[in-house]
């Protein structure tokens, strides 16, 4: 069995240098549409019209994006003559609309935070991307983040999915079982706004309608680095992106 040992050594260190350095590998993030200035009002209108979830709002020649609604259908970059600009980054974490102060965990947690993950009706993508944080390429342990086996020792409740009715009870029970320094992070558009599933007799339309959410990580699904950025934000080691523009548009 010694071949595993040699195999491991030969692979070398493959872990990303993020957050010390930005990750340069291709394909770590699908990117996201960003606010775009068009040449004419019509082009901005066309961009807003093609969006199936109203994540793009046209205002004159500008088109504003609410990333919390975006479902990454790529229609605004593939299906119209003058596409929206897309940013290749992944630092998307933000505060919920209307919240001005970041509910960062106290400094004692900054290098030891235990995360409880609940799948509340997720399509599998967000959960899968959360899972990737444990693989050697992202290895969140090196940053002091751990998935925990029980809500009793968890500091952060990470919720994916729009909260289906059948999962509402288990989600609330998990939250109630956590000690009170708890924070709640909604990961993915579905967890933020309900995404394509929206609000129906079976869907709560986002974690916010069931629990008070402290942090949001937009994306459909957000890539592992975006979730890692979210975890760094919760511990105060990174700051949220400037969402003023979006919040203004939303209000």
């Amino acid at each position: 069995m010694s071949f595993w040992f040699w195999h491991g050594l030969r692979s070398g260190i493959q872990t990303t240098h993020y957050p010390r350095r930005a990750e340069a590998a291709l394909g770590v993030s699908p990117g996201c549409p960003i606010n775009t200035e068009f040449k004419s009002d019509d082009e901005a209108q066309a961009a807003a019209a093609i969006c199936p979830v109203d994540a793009i709002i046209a205002h004159g020649k500008s088109a504003f994006v609410d990333l919390g609604k975006c479902v990454h259908c790529q229609r605004c970059r593939l299906s119209i003559p003058s596409p929206m600009h897309w940013d290749a980054g992944y630092e998307w974490s933000r505060l919920p609309a209307g919240q001005t102060e970041s509910m960062t965990l106290p400094s004692a947690f900054s290098r030891s935070m235990h995360v409880m993950v609940v799948d509340a009706g997720d399509c599998g993508a967000c959960l899968h991307e959360v899972k990737q944080l444990n693989n050697p390429l992202y290895n969140m342990h090196r940053l002091g983040f751990f998935f925990t086996a029980t809500p009793r020792t968890a500091d952060l409740l990470l919720v994916v999915g729009p909260v289906s009715e059948n999962m509402r009870g288990p989600l609330l029970k998990t939250w109630e079982a956590m000690p009170t320094t708890r924070r709640v992070m909604a990961v993915g558009s579905c967890a933020i706004t309900g995404g394509v599933f929206g609000h129906s007799f079976m869907c709560a339309g986002g974690v916010g309608s069931v629990l008070s959410v402290d942090f949001e990580v937009p994306g459909n699904p957000p890539p592992p680095l975006a979730i890692l950025h979210g975890l760094l934000v919760v511990t105060g080691r990174k700051s949220v992106v400037n969402t003023e523009l979006v919040s203004e548009r939303r209000s």
């Binding site: 790529q74 288990p170 007799f201």
Partner: protein, 541 residues
């Protein structure tokens, strides 16, 4: 590893004409056959519901058809129940039962075709049709401690946005136990997992000590009523749902959905799009299998191999993102083709990633094969015998590990799969190790198919217009990474969706999962679960 010969050899294979002849002999007065319609090669319209069980038994057991699934529809003034069977090599057969809307009970065929079990439970829960002599109805999609009886959300009269009524949890509710003898106890697992990041599913493991005697999975925690949401919406909106209800096999499901829409519009994706669809389907399968292998390694707590497999998976996710702009291949399929074209340079780059993944998987497999402590956990664990697999109608890699060779790419080719040379790997043991070997072998075949697809690419359009609003219904299908996926779509005169139903491989295989978990020790349970590699959200919709 052996490539299975097809179920019946060429000279034995039953053709459609033999079938109609045999039917004419036995069911002359009970059915009226209609040829080729809506993606089916043959529709058998039943005149009397009473002959349904004997006809289904004849198709499943005497002719060796695969059971595809059951589709229920509430049309204006009447019910339509489609029992879908696959005659390998010929196509889908629809046993159609039309009933007046007042009908409340239908004969159950669960005694004849066991795989219909969960389909009937779903229809009972969502439409309120009862199935006579079904052993276990109720508490399926709508969990009994939350939902009252008598709510039938898939009925046309039920509004999707009905405001949430204040519901009280039924605190007295208890799951029904099967064993229930003195000394036995039931161990609940899930839906929120301790430690592992599993999808929401609950298991009730009944035991008297060491071995699991009965394993009852309870699903539909992730039920988001995708099929109800789809009603009254445009095809392009519903495409988003079809793609996103199970993201780890998003492309296969969106392909099946698009093929159904294309059949209704009577258009066909251009040749270049068909080839690219095969390319991306196989890329998805390769990535899925790498992830499934990583999960199996993880379930045995074998850290080094988990790390290697998950690196391969992440690299394929990145390669998918570089090629298509999305790590889970969202936004590519549209009715009529693909939303974008790829340059030859992009395809060449993909090929490098695929070759590297193929090589790394081969190395991983050869090392796992000599890791005895790992193999001890898989061999002779979670066994599903060949007869059980046939009886439970298991699909996909799990079925193929128990010698059920049905693969829609061969049995009922779509998107030009008939033009590719590939094998359908099969095993006979039906244990965890057989399932692992099938995953490795299928990954190799996928890499082979990607090569062939890139070689076959010719310049041309990748989409044809698919507009207009013809009313109609059609069945689309694809071999998703976990097995056969069927999407039924019905459009009204305005081109809006009237009924959408997805039959997913996870739904088919979760039904048979208990067979593998029972009579094995508790510590084997996570491993059996991982070797099944099923998705709860794909089942729940």
């Amino acid at each position: 590893m052996t490539a299975c010969s097809s179920p019946t050899d060429e000279n034995e294979q039953i053709g459609l004409s033999d079938l109609t002849a045999a039917l004419g002999e036995r069911f002359r007065s009970e059915v009226s056959p209609i040829q080729a319609e809506r993606g089916y090669v043959l529709t058998l319209s039943l005149i009397q519901p009473g002959s349904l069980p004997s006809l289904c038994r004849f198709l499943f057991w005497d002719l060796g058809c695969q059971f595809g699934g059951m589709i229920a529809e509430e049309l204006s003034g009447y019910w339509q129940l489609h029992y879908t069977f696959l005659l390998p090599g010929s196509g889908w057969i629809d046993v159609l039962l039309s009933l007046p809307i007042e009908t409340t009970t239908v004969p159950s065929i669960v005694a004849e075709v066991n795989a219909v079990d969960w389909h009937e439970r779903e229809v009972e829960d969502l439409f309120g049709i009862r199935f006579e002599k079904h052993p276990r109805l109720g508490d399926f999609v709508l969990h009994d401690q939350i939902w009252h009886e008598g709510i039938e959300p898939m009925r046309k009269s039920f509004p999707v946005n009905r405001p949430q009524l204040e519901r009280k949890l039924d605190l007295e509710w208890q799951p029904s136990l099967i064993v229930g003898d003195p000394g036995s106890f039931a161990m609940p697992v899930g839906p929120v997992y301790a430690g592992g990041l599993g999808e929401s599913v609950h298991f009730l493991l009944e035991t008297v000590g060491e071995d699991v005697i009965r394993a009852v999975p309870r699903l539909f925690y992730n039920y988001r009523a995708v099929e109800k949401l789809a009603e009254g919406r445009s095809v392009s909106d519903v495409l988003l749902l079809a793609e996103r209800f199970a993201a780890t096999s998003a492309f296969a499901h969106s392909l099946a959905f698009c093929q159904a829409a294309e059949k209704i519009h009577t258009v066909e994706a251009p040749p270049r799009a068909a080839i690219l669809r095969v390319l991306i389907c196989e890329l998805e399968r390769l990535r899925h299998h790498a992830g499934a292998i990583a999960a199996i390694c993880e379930s045995t707590a074998f850290g080094v191999s988990t790390a290697h497999a998950s690196i391969i998976e992440e690299e394929l996710l990145r390669a998918s993102c570089v090629l298509t702009g999305h790590r889970y291949l969202f936004g590519l399929n549209i009715p009529g083709g693909l939303s974008r074209d790829f340059e030859s340079g992009e395809c060449e780059r993909l090929l490098l990633s695929v070759d590297k993944a193929g090589k790394d998987l081969r190395i991983l497999e050869s090392r796992l094969r000599y890791s005895s402590s790992f193999l001890d956990r898989l061999e002779d664990v979670g066994v599903i015998g060949i007869d059980s697999a046939r009886y439970l109608n298991l699909v996909g890699p799990i079925g193929r590990a128990s010698a059920q060779h049905c693969d829609l790419r061969k049995a009922c080719p779509y998107s030009g799969y008939e033009g590719y040379a590939f094998d359908v790997p099969c095993e006979k043991e039906g244990d965890g190790y057989a399932r692992l070997r099938v995953l490795f072998a299928e990954a190799t075949q996928s890499a082979r198919l990607i090569h062939q697809a890139i070689d076959a690419l010719k310049p041309g359009a990748v989409r044809v217009p698919c507009d207009g609003s013809p009313a109609g219904a059609a069945l689309g299908w694809a071999e998703a990474p976990r097995g056969a996926a069927l999407h039924w779509l019905r459009l009204d005169e305005k081109g809006l969706v009237e009924r959408y139903h997805a039959i997913t491989p996870s739904f088919s295989n979760w039904h048979g999962f208990h067979e593998a978990a029972e009579d094995f020790a508790f510590q084997d349970f996570p491993i059996i679960l991982a070797t099944f590699g099923l998705s709860a959200t794909e089942c729940d919709r």
